[in-house]
């Protein structure tokens, strides 16, 4: 957007939508990184494990709130025409048809993840987990939506920020996959530890 006019009552919603969109992307990135950490039972310096899980959960709620604000302000704003339905139905927006379709897909996936997590107690673990895996789809779609629909992100500091997000996620997923590849199958763990501790006892 070349329009860098002043913020007034007619442009406020538009600016809020753009700003909350950027923050939502940052939060979603943080939530994904924390989720990757939680899935490996990892720790953050100075935090016990349950606090990492708590951070992941609470930050995800804040992220959803920002996404909600981002979507509502974009729909309400009259500068461009985005019907409310287009927030959830892909390819139904007259404005930026493709890029907003990605936003709608990401929102749908995010809502599915949020709702199943809120009623997790009532679901089988397998069901909840299957839906939760959609985060790996939701995040890249959200990133593409951000990059594609916001000219803000195509240059300058925000571009570097978007690039940093992408890099962080790629590195974290790589770490997650490498850690999983090193996993010892459950049935073989005890044998390994037994051999190790009994040998240590004998060598003394």
């Amino acid at each position: 957007m070349e329009i860098v006019g002043e913020i007034n009552s007619s442009t406020a919603l538009w600016y809020i939508s753009r700003a909350t969109g950027v923050v939502a992307l940052l939060l979603m990135t943080a939530v994904l990184l924390l989720g990757l950490l939680v899935s490996r039972q990892g720790k953050l310096p100075g935090l016990p494990k349950f606090a990492v899980t708590g951070l992941h959960r609470n930050l995800s709620l804040i992220a959803v709130a920002f996404v909600g604000l981002h979507v509502l302000t974009a729909v309400t704003d009259g500068y461009v025409n985005i019907p409310l339905l287009s927030a959830v139905v892909p390819l139904s927006s007259p404005y930026e048809r493709l890029w907003l379709a990605l936003g709608a897909v990401s929102l749908d996936l995010t809502l599915a993840i949020a709702v199943t997590s809120l009623v997790r107690n009532r679901l089988r673990r397998k069901t909840w987990k299957a839906v939760h895996w959609l985060a790996y789809l939701s995040w890249p779609v959200a990133w593409l939506h951000s990059y594609g629909s916001a000219s803000d992100l195509r240059g300058g500091w925000l571009f570097l920020l978007a690039l940093a997000d992408l890099l962080a996620v790629v590195v974290a997923v790589g770490w997650r996959l490498a850690a999983a590849a090193r996993d010892v199958p459950r049935a073989e763990r005890v044998g390994l530890i037994m051999t190790a501790v009994h040998q240590r006892g004998r060598s003394r």
């Binding site: 049935a187 763990r189 005890v190 044998g191 190790a196 006892g201 003394r204």
Partner: protein, 426 residues
């Protein structure tokens, strides 16, 4: 294939050890299955009888029956009943013996329990090592019966120590590995296929079949007031051979063991049980009221007398090694703790333990307790703690490089094959 059977209480086991394999012979002796035709009417009799689970936990049987009935009515599903004869405890042979000698009594109990909770399917679970003899006989026995209301499926438990634990058993029947999960939700709520499931030890069902015939008053004629009835025990005296005995609850220990003079200590309740010095054991009766005074319980009725020529420390180290290897490897405290405890006790038994090993072992036993999905770490810690207490003098002797034993042959049975891959749990 059957160990020696002795019984003064011919309830479950025939007095002369002869098999009642044949359905006709069984019906001639006990009469036909006394179906009640109304779901739940048997549960009152079971409550009045005071029957408790004979698989080890001694949980009141009627409460499980009532819980499964209630849950299945509420959820509008038909539950499943499982007769648990997995007997994955290596020192126990009472369920296999019962299933061998009197299969129809267990199968009657399975039918009656199925009727009481409105079940439409039933499973009989037996140990892999007995699939050849007991399993084959059970198949014949099931085919022999003609008054069954629900079909009975025979299932074989893998030879893992934890495979008989009720959640492990259900995981196995659902096609997964025979590993336990957290006890909640209870299997009475969500068991096989997620539906309410009744899991009863095979012996418990045999008692149930007799109570259905002769009534709760008859059941209470023997045993103690608080713990009525009889139970099957696997008893090893100093000769080491297993003896299956049917005993009234409350039987004094000396009557069961006999010749306590050559014995140094008793293991009560199996490998999750408690070592008790012989002087204290001689004053005990076999009921939970008496045994709780030494931190023991009747459990699944395992009683072993350690002869004076063997070393209790070496025996315990061997058993602990087995228990550690049988950890399912799911929960950190068990996976990491049990192997270290095993290495420590082995080092103590070899007299090569560095200073502080005994204190480490005691501390670790406390640390693993209550921190697993199942009770494997708790039972193992109890076993180790009782060994350290009971064999304290032997520990000191080993610390000086000596050992009180003159016979190095292993006494208690410990399976040699440990699980190596996921296949071994299926």
């Amino acid at each position: 294939m059957t160990p020696a059977v002795t019984t003064d209480v011919p309830r479950l086991l025939p007095r002369d050890g002869e098999r009642i394999q044949n359905w006709r012979a069984h019906s001639a002796k006990f009469g036909r299955i006394p179906y009640r035709n109304a779901a739940g009417s048997l549960i009152n009799d079971i409550e009045a009888s005071g029957l408790t689970g004979r698989g080890g936990a001694a949980f009141p049987t009627y409460r499980k029956l009532a819980a499964v009935l209630e849950a299945s009515v509420r959820k509008r599903v038909r539950p499943t009943v499982i007769a648990n004869g997995a007997e994955s405890e290596p020192a126990s042979e009472k369920d296999a013996t019962l299933l061998w000698l009197a299969p129809h009594l267990v199968l009657d109990g399975l039918q009656l329990a199925a009727e009481a909770v409105g079940a439409e399917s039933a499973v009989l679970y037996t140990h892999a090592h007995r699939a050849g003899d007991v399993g084959a006989r059970l198949r014949e026995a099931i085919a022999d019966r003609f008054d069954d209301h629900v079909a009975v499926r025979l299932a074989i438990a893998p030879p893992r120590f934890l495979a008989g634990q009720e959640t492990a058993l259900i995981s196995h029947l659902d096609g997964g590995p025979a590993i336990p999960r957290f006890p909640f939700p209870r299997v009475t709520e969500q068991g096989l296929d997620g539906d309410p499931t009744l899991v009863q030890n095979a012996e418990t069902l045999a008692h149930l079949a007799l109570i259905a015939r002769f009534g709760p008053g008859w059941f209470r004629e023997i045993g103690t007031r608080r713990e009525p009835g009889s139970f099957l025990a696997t008893v090893r005296r100093a000769d080491g051979r297993p003896r299956i005995m049917e005993l009234p609850l409350g039987t004094p220990v000396p009557e069961v063991i006999g010749g306590l003079g050559q014995v140094t200590a008793l293991l009560i309740g199996g490998y999750h049980g408690t070592w008790v010095p012989v002087a204290r054991a001689a004053k005990l009766r076999l009921d939970n009221e008496s045994l709780s005074s030494v931190g023991a319980s009747v459990g699944a009725g395992i009683l072993a007398a350690l002869p004076g020529d063997r070393c209790g420390l070496v025996e315990s180290a061997r058993i602990l090694r087995y228990l550690a290897l049988e950890s399912a490897g799911q929960c950190g405290p068990c996976l990491n703790g049990l192997p270290r405890m095993s290495a420590a006790l082995t080092a103590l038994a070899r007299g090569r333990a560095p200073r502080g090993t005994r204190a480490d072992l005691e501390r670790w036993a406390g640390l693993v307790t209550g921190r697993g999905a199942c009770h494997h770490p708790d039972g193992t810690a109890r076993f180790v703690a009782s060994a350290l207490r009971t064999f304290a003098a032997e520990l000191d002797r080993h610390g000086r490089g000596q050992c009180g034993a003159t016979n190095a042959a292993p006494f208690l049975p410990v399976p040699q094959s440990a699980a190596r891959t996921e296949e071994d749990w299926l």
